[in-house]
């Protein structure tokens, strides 16, 4: 069947249809391609959750608590039920089973059961013929509360062990405490040439994806529940739905339509998903709930505010001898991922620098505010800030270039961190070099005119965690693949595409391995009925884990095709290549056929061409052997270096970030366009939280019984910014120039060596900016955000100058 092809151009032209002119175009993996799924999304064709409308669909709205901390005495829903157009009302006691994304800390209820714990805690839900009727019905639900004192700072929450936000919590309001020590920290501190000591405050910020949370549920009469949700963890959603609704998982289908951004803000189940499901059962009709923007701010799970005390010891040559870290984490009303955050706050600091002794002590407390959770760079952005600022301070004191100080402390590749994490590939030095070159560091650092400054910082992040958040030996990712006679490749994966490009990544791997073009691959993702389980889009795990699973599945099929063609052509299978819609012999260019034909021949010989691939993380050479030693360990680590250049207006204290160069070691860039996009987006987000964004409640007085203090707004727990007007994310006119530089240090554990790009490039943007501000005007801002009034105060203290 081989179709000889001559070098004659006319002959080749004859085959153009089959090969579609792809001949000669570059590789798919590693090539600069667009985002696979972008066009239909941006044309109003593919649907996000709120774009879906089902027949007879009802609309759901939630009643939320106006108190930060209160007991629920009674709920009267009769007014709502009496309203025409209302089909059902649900309250907490109908879904009494607690849940939590971390199975060890189930402390949330779909709707508050006996107590509300922040302003906005949902207490009831209504399904009605329209959103408008549902809103009106919510107004008619009367909830009687007994108001309790609200604890809105972590210090207050610690001090008031008698006033528990969760009554059954063991230690007052402490949700998690981790203390780990490696080596003799105190001895190292005592013997050091220099100890840099300081307090650092990292403020809260939130994800603010442009798409608000939305969910739809429908039941089919035979008890099958389908939930469409703007989630980044469809699998965990399915599990928690099963738990709370007391249904077997097989009776629940979760579909994640296109998601309009998530960044960690959609990485656990939320009230709306349980409520629409319950209401769909109660009414027998589909029910949709779309959060308002304010509700997105209330759902939160954003960056934890940290109060940190850091001591870092150095030898005279700049080598780090010890790090002693103490952190207090403001967790908000629920645990969320908090157990993990508390570990991450210390566990993820172990690279890119080597240090022989390390101690961290982290305490997370409940407060009466929206719960904090994982935001891009989960748990490790805050400690990274403290450490990288301390390195800058040390370099100044020791008279070393901060780049040199970082080079000297480099941990190296194939190394083990002080807390036992095994680092494989490590491109950190190349990252440093890349930003130094691109920014012109040597001509700038310490040399720019006053008011202008440049700063550097480095960081490291994980490519997925080695262990699932629930104990299991099952694969963390899996892919099913199917080829058919049309020449198409179908990839079924549980992966969550949230804009980061997981669908494109899977398509690229399948296309590369099976010799088709990107558009010949159809990725069907995140539908629990159609796709194997994938744990979700968090901790930058998909490229490494699902990518590996996809690679396995694709190679299995590729091998089958090559085997059949080898028999057919009488050449070794190893000599056969599948590329750009052709199968051909490497040694004899005359021997080839269109890939579609290869699929057909193989299918006719072997039957339907399907395969599976699974990824289970490595079981050895990963982590330390101590309690908690597995948390935060990853199969592979990404590395990043940032240089920021800023201008500080000394009259106003305003910091303008002019340019940020970010070099990121992603292992291997499966699609450089998308990797750059992840770097740019991460740097943008980091810069935004460094200088502009702040998610917090208004500082306020106290109200326990309706009486107020003499000053202050008088009510605790009200969000300072709960709209996209007040929560100031940078506009197109506020964004600094961003330069994304890709560094590739392939890791043997990643597909084609790929690691991650989604979160790592955020971390060191923040300390790089803080360090640049110091370089510009000699002011250290150790409590974020770097707002003009703080800079101005710093300048005043420096100069003893008077206002104006």
């Amino acid at each position: 069947m081989s179709r000889p092809i001559s070098s004659d151009k006319t002959a080749r032209d004859l085959h153009r249809l089959d090969t579609d002119g792809a001949e000669g175009s570059g590789p798919i993996v590693g090539g600069r391609h667009g985002k696979h799924d972008a066009l239909p999304l941006m044309s109003g064709i593919d649907r996000y959750t709120d774009d879906i409308t089902l027949p007879r669909m009802l609309h759901c709205k939630l009643v939320r608590s106006p108190h930060a901390h209160a007991k629920i005495i009674a709920i009267d829903t009769s007014g709502a039920e009496a309203l025409e157009g209302v089909h059902a009302v649900v309250i907490g006691s109908e879904m009494p089973i607690p849940y939590g994304v971390i199975p060890w800390t189930p402390d949330e209820h779909a709707l508050a059961l006996h107590k509300v714990r922040f302003v906005g805690d949902p207490v009831a839900a209504v399904a009605a013929v329209s959103e408008e009727v549902a809103i009106e019905a919510c107004r008619r639900i009367v909830v009687r509360y007994e108001v309790l004192e609200a604890l809105v700072t972590p210090q207050a929450a610690l001090a008031r062990a008698d006033l528990k936000i969760h009554e059954d919590n063991r230690h007052g309001n402490i949700t998690k405490h981790v203390h780990l020590e490696f080596g003799d920290v105190d001895a190292a501190l005592a013997a050091a040439a220099l100890v840099v000591e300081g307090d650092y405050q990292f403020h809260g910020s939130t994800h603010a994806p442009i798409e608000p949370h939305c969910a739809i549920a429908s039941v089919d009469g035979k008890g099958l529940l389908t939930v469409w949700s703007a989630t980044q963890v469809p699998h965990y959603l399915q599990r928690e739905l099963a738990k709370v609704l007391e249904l077997p998982m097989r009776q629940i289908r979760v579909i994640q339509p296109a998601v309009g951004g998530a960044f960690g803000g959609k990485s656990e189940p939320f009230a709306l998903e349980f409520c629409v499901a319950k209401l769909a059962f109660k009414t027998g009709r589909p029910v949709k709930c779309l959060y308002t923007r304010e509700e997105v701010f209330l759902a939160h799970r954003g960056r934890h505010p940290f109060d940190m005390h850091y001591r870092t010891a150095f030898a005279a040559d700049g080598k780090i001898l010890a790090i002693d870290a103490k952190s207090l984490l403001d967790g908000g009303a629920y645990s969320s991922f908090g157990l993990v955050t508390t570990y991450y706050s210390g566990q993820l600091l172990g690279a890119p620098y080597r240090f022989p002794t390390y101690r961290f002590d982290s305490t997370r407390v409940y407060t009466n505010k929206p719960a904090c959770g994982p935001k891009r760079g989960h748990g490790s952005v805050q400690p990274r800030f403290a450490l990288e600022v301390q390195l800058d301070k040390a370099s100044r004191t020791l008279g070393l270039d901060p780049i040199e100080l970082r080079r000297r402390n480099f941990i190296g590749e194939n190394s083990v961190t002080i807390n036992g994490f095994h680092i494989g590939s490590n491109g950190f030095l190349q990252c440093l070099e890349a930003v130094v070159q691109a920014s012109g560091w040597a001509e700038k650092w310490g040399k720019l005119p006053r008011g202008h400054g440049i700063g550097v910082a480095g960081s490291c992040y994980i490519s997925g965690t080695n262990y699932c958040i629930y104990p299991t030996e099952l694969p963390q990712s899996a892919v099913q693949m199917c080829l058919d006679r049309s020449g198409r490749v179908r990839v079924f994966a549980g992966t969550s595409e949230i804009g980061q490009g997981s669908t494109t990544m899977l398509a690229a791997i399948a296309a590369q391995e099976l010799g088709v073009e990107l558009d010949d691959v159809r990725v069907l993702a995140a539908d629990s009925d159609l796709c194997p389980v994938d744990l979700g889009a968090y901790s930058s795990r998909i490229t490494l884990m699902a990518g590996n699973a996809c690679l396995t599945a694709a190679r299995t099929l590729g091998d089958k095709i090559r085997d059949i063609l080898a028999q057919l052509w009488g050449i070794p299978a190893a000599d056969i290549r599948l590329e750009h819609r052709r199968a051909f012999s490497l040694t004899n260019p005359q021997v080839w056929m269109p890939i579609q034909e290869a699929f057909i021949i193989t299918e006719s010989k072997l039957g339907l061409l399907g395969s599976t691939g699974s990824y289970t993380s490595p079981q050895s050479a990963v982590h330390g052997d101590y309690r908690g030693g597995t948390i935060g360990a990853s199969p592979a680590y990404s590395f990043t270096a940032h240089i920021a250049q800023v201008q500080v207006d000394e009259d106003t204290g305003e910091v303008t970030i002019e340019h940020i160069w970010c070099a990121h070691d992603c292992g291997h860039a499966i699609n450089p366009v998308l990797v750059e996009g992840q770097i740019e987006g991460s740097v943008y987000m980091g810069a935004a939280e460094a200088v502009m964004e702040h998610h917090d409640t208004l500082p306020s007085g106290l109200r326990t019984d309706g009486r107020r203090r003499d000053s202050g707004p008088g009510v605790d727990g009200l969000l300072m910014a709960s709209s996209l007007l007040d929560y100031r994310m940078p506009t197109s006119l506020d964004v600094p120039q961003l330069t994304a530089l890709i560094v590739q240090a392939p890791d043997p554990r990643g597909p084609y060596g790929a690691k991650e790009a989604g979160e790592g490039p955020l971390h060191s943007a923040i300390p790089a900016i803080a360090n640049a501000v110091f370089d510009a005007v000699g002011v250290r801002i150790d409590n974020l955000p770097i707002s003009p009034e703080k800079v101005l105060r710093g300048l005043r203290n420096q100069a003893g100058r008077k206002p104006c």
Binding site: M42, G44, M685
Partner: protein, 198 residues
């Protein structure tokens, strides 16, 4: 369960909610993407509700509820407009263009192609709004006497569209590329027509 055409019956019995309130249904007649439409909607509905829930034009998105984000941007008589805070009755008889009308005959608009190829859309949720603002910028550019593509103008034109994914970098690149292309094309056209004239 299958999905049907996204037509919402939301307004049918809102009278129940607040029976005392005056309330009217009106027929809104307008041009949407070049087609005349007449739709019945409650008089207090926004253009975004009309587009998404009455006409099934889901391309325009809702991100903030109240004018803060730009996800709902459409062109009203060619001018970028926030459909979430525009009353549908107020645009009677006027021309609305949404992202669904950007491409011609199934072919994506050059902006869309550039956005797709250059990774300027990540989650894609802000993108329809961004595209409409960019389209207004392109219109203004092509109608200006001496068109020059400037990064600063692009950034200013997109100043009302928040994007949380991209850091705007690739958006700027894509708009720049599309603008350059369109200018070149119109220049080439102008050149040939002057050739014809001479």
């Amino acid at each position: 369960m299958t999905e049907t055409a996204p037509v919402d019956s939301t307004f049918l019995d809102t009278t129940a909610a607040e029976p005392t309130r005056a309330r009217r249904l009106v027929i809104c007649r307008l041009q949407v993407n070049g087609e005349g439409v007449a739709v019945v909607a409650p008089v207090h509905w926004t253009l975004l509700e009309l587009l998404r829930y009455q006409l099934g034009l889901i391309g325009s998105k809702q991100g903030c509820d109240k004018g803060d984000c730009g996800a709902c941007t459409v062109l009203l008589d060619g001018k970028p407009t926030l459909s979430c805070i525009t009353l549908a009755v107020a645009v009677q008889g006027r021309c609305v263009e949404t992202v669904e009308g950007l491409g011609v005959g199934g072919e994506p608009h050059p902006l869309q192609r550039e956005f797709a190829e250059r990774g300027a859309a990540q989650c894609g949720f802000c993108t329809p709004g961004v595209l409409m603002s960019a389209a207004a910028y392109l219109d203004e550019l092509s109608s200006s006497a001496e068109p020059v593509v400037r990064q600063a103008d692009i950034a200013a034109a997109l100043g009302g569209n928040l994007c949380r994914c991209t850091g705007y970098t690739k958006i700027f690149e894509a708009v720049h590329a599309a603008a350059t292309q369109i200018l070149q094309r119109s220049k080439a056209l102008a050149d040939t027509s002057t050739d014809d004239a001479s």
